[in-house]
């Protein structure tokens, strides 16, 4: 019990130490950025580390044929013993194709979805701006008419008319 508690405690401390170190030495820190900007050696090292990360992501991004899993399964099942080769599971594996994730399945609708979203946003903006503009026009029109009455018929009459309307 105590050992388990102690272990958790140690883990918490080590996690916070790692977090502290990561915050102090992350590449986003100003003093590190300034140093890298001035030091050609560090700049070169960083560039090469970036190149390794780039190469790794290139390896990951290269696509293979969709039937590769099927081919690999067929070849592998072919060398297993006869009782395994004839099972329904083996037959299913021979014809298996990689399942697409939900995001990949929806990818073909992304343009339509983006268009619909844009239309909705535009409709909201138009609606909002139309109402604001109408209200603004109404206020300004009322002020103009009030001013006309005040100048031609007198302040008292204008006040009387417009306070009654209000």
């Amino acid at each position: 019990m105590w050992a388990a508690k102690g272990k958790n405690y140690c883990r918490q401390i080590s996690d916070s130490v790692f977090r502290l170190l990561a915050n102090s030495f992350s590449l986003d820190r100003h003093w590190i950025q300034n140093h890298i900007a001035c030091c050609p050696r560090c700049r070169q090292r960083l560039a090469h580390l970036g190149k390794v990360e780039l190469a790794l992501s290139l390896l990951k991004s290269q696509p293979h044929n969709l039937n590769l899993l099927m081919r690999a399964n067929t070849q592998a099942i072919g060398v297993l013993k006869h009782s395994l080769r004839t099972t329904t599971k083996a037959e299913h594996l021979r014809n298996i194709r990689p399942d697409l994730s939900f995001i990949e399945k929806c990818a073909k609708y992304k343009n339509a979805a983006a268009g619909a979203a844009a239309c909705i946003v535009i409709a909201f903006l138009i609606k909002g701006s139309t109402f604001t503009s109408a209200k603004f026009l109404e206020t300004k029109g009322r002020q103009a008419v009030e001013h006309y009455y005040a100048s031609n018929a007198g302040e008292d009459i204008a006040k009387d008319i417009f306070t009654k309307e209000a």
């Binding site: 080590s14 790692f18 070169q44 090292r45 090469h48 580390l49 190149k51 390794v52 990360e53 780039l54 190469a55 790794l56 290139l58 390896l59 990951k60 290269q62 293979h64 044929n65 590769l68 899993l69 081919r71 690999a72 399964n73 070849q75 592998a76 099942i77 072919g78 060398v79 297993l80 013993k81 009782s83 395994l84 099972t87 599971k89 083996a90 299913h92 594996l93 298996i96 990689p98 399942d99």
Partner: protein, 185 residues
């Protein structure tokens, strides 16, 4: 008659789970469960479809013949480590073959500033670098980076802690960066 009786006796001597294991249905289950991830990892290591199929076949053949057909304790760990090792040995074999080719054939792959950002050049150099890495660094790179396994699972497969796996990965990237720098010079 006597032979049959002996056969039954022998069968009774085997514990029931082991007898069930002898059917080896778990090999197909493993194929169904980890097949996709394995194919992705092998493709990223090897970059050639026929080699991927060969490595995949060897992996499951090895699994089926593990200790006379017994199921390993951790099938996932066994399958991923075997696949990674088989793929690396295929890759090394290919590199050796390539190095023994006449100069004219390999000349296009020479390192030069124009090739530095060429996709094919970079991926080939990276594969060659990974194949030359020390075993524990290489396994972290293949399982975590190319196999898309999180650090916790990678560590479990390799029998180390997640923090150690992170350190190994960091060291591996540093070594690869140094090698790439030397290539360019």
């Amino acid at each position: 008659m006597t032979g049959k009786a002996v056969g039954i006796e022998v069968l009774w001597d085997i514990p029931i789970p082991k007898a069930l294991e002898k059917t080896q249905g778990w090999v197909l289950s493993a194929m169904q469960q980890y097949g996709r991830e394995l194919v992705n990892m092998l493709w990223r290591i090897l970059g050639n479809e026929q080699d991927v199929c060969d490595a995949y076949q060897d992996t499951f053949l090895k699994l089926a013949h593990h200790e006379q057909g017994c199921k390993p304790e951790n099938v996932k760990a066994y399958v991923f480590r075997s696949a990674s090792n088989i793929a690396i040995s295929i890759l090394r074999h290919k590199l050796v073959e390539k190095n023994h080719m006449p100069n004219g054939i390999t000349k296009e792959n020479d390192s030069s500033p124009t090739n530095e950002l060429d996709t094919k050049y970079l991926t080939e150099k990276m594969r060659a670098g990974i194949a030359q890495l020390p075993e524990h660094f290489r396994e972290v790179i293949t399982l975590h980076d190319l196999g898309d396994l999180p650090y916790e699972q990678t560590a479990k497969i390799l029998g180390v802690t997640a923090a150690t796996a992170r350190v190994y990965r960091c060291k591996a990237v540093q070594i690869l960066a140094v090698w790439m720098r030397k290539e360019i010079r």
